[in-house]
Point group: C2
Chain length 443, copies 2
C-alpha cells in the first residue's frame, strides 16, 4: 500500500477523552473513529488488524472441528421468550420494534438462535458432535460504554456453540475449545491463562475465563507463575483424542489461577511466595458448559441410539476480536506507540522514502516495495512528502514490525537502514542485503 493513496488519519495530539493507552493509541494511529457512544467505525489500519485477528481465530476454530456459519444481527423476541431470557435480560438488550410492530432485538449473543437452527435440522445422535460458530457484530447497550473498543456497545464476537449427546461428550467439546483458545491466544502473541470462572446457577467446574496479564487490566487476578512457561498445544494436536485433550486441560488447570470473584486466599498462599503472581488482567475469552439450559425449554432433542429422544447438552465459547485489538495494544506498546506481534501487524514492513521526489530514493524505495509485495509481504511504502521526523513518528506509532529507511545520504553509499520496531535495533546494510534479508512470507 502506498501511503499517499491510503487513508491513515494520524492525530499528533493525544485525545483527551481516552482514559487508557489502547484507546489513545487507536485514536492517534487512525484505527477507529467514534460514531456514537461505544460505537466505532474501523478505519483502514484498524480494520487490517481486526481482519488478521479474525483470520487466526477462524483457523483455530476450524482446526478444532468447529464449522462456521453466520447468523443475523437482528433476532425475533419470540425466540428469547422460548428460553425465558427475553424478560430476564436487562436494559443491555437493545429492543426494537419493526414496522409491523413486532418485537425484535439486536443480538447480544446467540444461544437461542443456534439452538433453533440445530433443533430444525439435527434429528439423530449420529449427527453429533456438532459445534457451530460465527463471527458477527453484537450489541450490548452498556450504561456507560468506555475504554474505546475494550467496552463498546457494538462489538465483534466469535461465538461458538457445541451440541452433544451427554455430559461426557460435551466435556470433550469443551476441551476442544479450551485447547483451540490456548492456541489462538498464543498465535496472537498473548500469554492468556485460563482461570476458573463463576458458573452461576448451573454449577460444575466447566467454565473458564482466559485472562491476559496487563498492568492496565480491568480486574485483579492471581495465579501460579509456572503458567508463564507452559507449552502451547502444537498445531498437529489431535482434536479427536479424548485423553489427549483432557491431558492438555488437566495440565493447564493443575495450578492455582483465579479472578478476584473466585479468589481463594488460602489456596493462593499455599503457593511458594516466589511463585505467586498477583496482577491486573484483561478477559479475552470465556468458555462455558451449560448442559440442557437451552435445549430443555426450547425442545432441542435428537433420537439417541435406542431411538428415544435425548436433550442436547450445550456449551458456548466466546472471543471478542474487536476487544482483542485493544488488549493487544495494552500488552504491546511503548512511549512511541504500538508494538504489534508479527502475525497481527497491519503491515509487515514499512519502506520509508525520506525524500520522495528524489530519483535515487524513489528508485530504491520502489524497488524494495515491489520486491516485498512480490514475496507476499504486506508492505507499506511511505511515499508522502512529510518530513523525515514525521515519517519516523508515524511508522513507530502504527507499530509496523520492520522499517526499511531509504535516505539520500545512506543511498549515496549504497546503504539503507533496517529498524526493528520491537527492540529498536538499527542496522545499516546495502540495498542488496536489504532485498535479501526478507526472503518471503510463510503462508
Amino acid at each position: 500500500m502506498r501511503l499517499s493513496r491510503y487513508f491513515l488519519p494520524i492525530l499528533r495530539d493525544t485525545p483527551k477523552e481516552a482514559e487508557i493507552v489502547s484507546h489513545r493509541l487507536m485514536l492517534r494511529a487512525g484505527m477507529i473513529r467514534q460514531e456514537s457512544a461505544g460505537i466505532y467505525a474501523w478505519l483502514p489500519l484498524g480494520l487490517r488488524v481486526l481482519d488478521k485477528i479474525c483470520k487466526v481465530v477462524r483457523e483455530e476454530q476450524n482446526r478444532s472441528g468447529a464449522v462456521e456459519i453466520l447468523m443475523p444481527t437482528i433476532q425475533s423476541a419470540d425466540l428469547w421468550r422460548e428460553s425465558g431470557r427475553y424478560d430476564a435480560y436487562g436494559k443491555e438488550m437493545l429492543r426494537i420494534k419493526d414496522r409491523h410492530d413486532r418485537d425484535m432485538l439486536y443480538g447480544p449473543t446467540n444461544e437461542e438462535m443456534v439452538t433453533e437452527i440445530v433443533r430444525a435440522y439435527v434429528k439423530s445422535y449420529k449427527d453429533l458432535p456438532l459445534n457451530l460458530y460465527h463471527i458477527q457484530w453484537k450489541f450490548r447497550d452498556e450504561v456507560r460504554p468506555r475504554f474505546g473498543v475494550m467496552r463498546g456497545r457494538e462489538f465483534l464476537m466469535k461465538d461458538a456453540y457445541s451440541f452433544d449427546l451427554d455430559k461426557d461428550t460435551a466435556r470433550h467439546a469443551y476441551n476442544r475449545m479450551f485447547t483451540a483458545y490456548l492456541r489462538t491466544f498464543a498465535r496472537l502473541g498473548l500469554k492468556a491463562i485460563p482461570m476458573r470462572a463463576d458458573t452461576g446457577p448451573i454449577g460444575g467446574d466447566l467454565s473458564h475465563e482466559f485472562i491476559v496479564l496487563a498492568s492496565t487490566g480491568e480486574s485483579e487476578v492471581f495465579c501460579h507463575s509456572d503458567y508463564m512457561n507452559f507449552q502451547t498445544p502444537a498445531a498437529d494436536t489431535d482434536f479427536d483424542s479424548v485423553p489427549g485433550l483432557q491431558g492438555v486441560v488437566d495440565k493447564w488447570t493443575s495450578l492455582y489461577a483465579a479472578t478476584e470473584e473466585m479468589h481463594d486466599k488460602a489456596a493462593f498462599e499455599a503457593i511458594p511466595e516466589e511463585k505467586r503472581v498477583s496482577a491486573r488482567g484483561i478477559e479475552v475469552g470465556h468458555i462455558f458448559y451449560f448442559g440442557t439450559k437451552y435445549s430443555e425449554p426450547m425442545g432441542a432433542s435428537v433420537a439417541g441410539p435406542d431411538g428415544q429422544p435425548v436433550l442436547l447438552h450445550g456449551g458456548s465459547y466466546g472471543i471478542g476480536p474487536s476487544r482483542l485489538v485493544a488488549a493487544l495494544i495494552e500488552a504491546g506498546h511503548d512511549d512511541a506507540g504500538i508494538v504489534w506481534p508479527e502475525e497481527i501487524a497491519p503491515f509487515d514492513i514499512a519502506v520509508i522514502n525520506l525524500k520522495a521526489g528524489d530519483a535515487a530514493t524513489d528508485g530504491a524505495a520502489e524497488r524494495l516495495y515491489k520486491d516485498l509485495l512480490a514475496k507476499g509481504y504486506d508492505a507499506l511504502l511511505d511515499d508522502t512528502d512529510d518530513r523525515p521526523g514525521a515519517k519516523f513518528a508515524t511508522a513507530d506509532l502504527i507499530g509496523v514490525p520492520w522499517q526499511i529507511i531509504v535516505g539520500p545520504k545512506g543511498l549515496a553509499e549504497g546503504k539503507v537502514e533496517i529498524k526493528r520496531r520491537a527492540g529498536g535495533e538499527r542496522e545499516l546494510v546495502s540495498l542488496e542485503a536489504a532485498l535479501d534479508r526478507f526472503k518471503g512470507k510463510a503462508a
Copy 2:
C-alpha cells in the same frame, strides 16, 4: 471438508414458501435458514459462497484504488438529521431508541456516516481523490420481504463512497467504479450490462444500474445484443488513466440499454431487429454521482489549491453480495440443482466415496481428497454412509463444479469417474490420471 463432520442440512422436499428457483435451491441445499421475515442465517455452504463473492468484490475494489473501512451497523439519528434524510426516509428505516432514549437507527446506507468521517479528517485537496468502501450488513424494513435473500430485510452490501474536488475528477472516480464493476461481475461469471438509471432530482447522466439477464428477473430490460460480446476490461487496466477509463465507459455505454423506467421505445426500435434484446433482468449493482448533495448540508469541504474551502463532490456505489448469491443461482441452475461458476463454488471438487467403510474405496477416496487439499483446492469428501443415489443428488444439488466418483466396481479395475457438473460429461480414468488431472489451484 469431510461431509460426515460438516453441517449440510439438505432438504429432499421443495419448500412451499419459496416462489423463485434461487430461494428454493438455497433452502434445499442447506445454504440459508429464515430466522424472521426477510432475515436469514447463513449455513456453512451458503457462507462459503458469500465469502467467495466478497473476496472477488474486495479484490476489484482494491485494484481500482478504493480503501476498505468498516462502519458500524447502528447509527445516530442526529447524523441523518444533518443531511435532512431522517424525516424524509420512510418506514423502511429501522428506528431504534437506546436505553438513554436516544434516537438511533440500523443503517440502510452510509452516505451520512462516511461524510462525517471524511469531514473530520480530510482537510486539503491534496488528500484527494479518496474512495472508502465497506462490506457490512444493512437493514431495510421492507413491507413485504420475499424471494429469500434476493429481497431480504437484513442484507450484506458493499458500498463505496468517493470524494473529489470537482465534477471532472468525480467523473473519473465514477469511471473507476464503473470499470471495477464490469470486472467484478465478469469474474463472478455473470454477464452484467450497465444501464442508464434514473438520477432523480440531481439529474445528469451519471447513474447506472448493472443488470444481469435472467428469465426470472424482477424487471423488464431492453438492450443491444452486441453487449453480450464486449470484452471485459483486463486485470492490468490502468485505473489512473483518465482517457483509458473514459474509453471503457464510452464503449460500454455506446449502445442502447435501459431498464423499463428509462425505456425509450423509439431508440430501441432504431436498433436492427435481430440485435434487439428484450428480457428480464436482475439488478446486481448501482452506481451514482450525487455531487454536493451530502457535503453541502453537512459542511464537508477541503481547502482547495488557492486555500479557499471547496465542497466535496461525492458518489456512491453499491453491490449486494447476499443478493448476488441468489442472482448467481438464478443465472446458473438446472433441474438437478445449482451450477456454480468455478471461482464462486463453495467447493472446487467433491470426492464421492460410494462405499464408505470399504477399505479400497476409503483408501482411494482419502488419497484423492488429501492430494487435492495439498494442491490448494477446496475439496469436499463425501464419506457418509448415504446410498449412492443420495450422494449423487447431493453433489448435483450443491453444484460443485467437479465430482470424482470412487466406487468399488470401477476401483476393482483401477478406475474412478470424473464428472463435470456444468455439462454433465463423465469420464472413466485411472486413479493416477485423476490425481494428475487437477494440477493445483491458481491463487
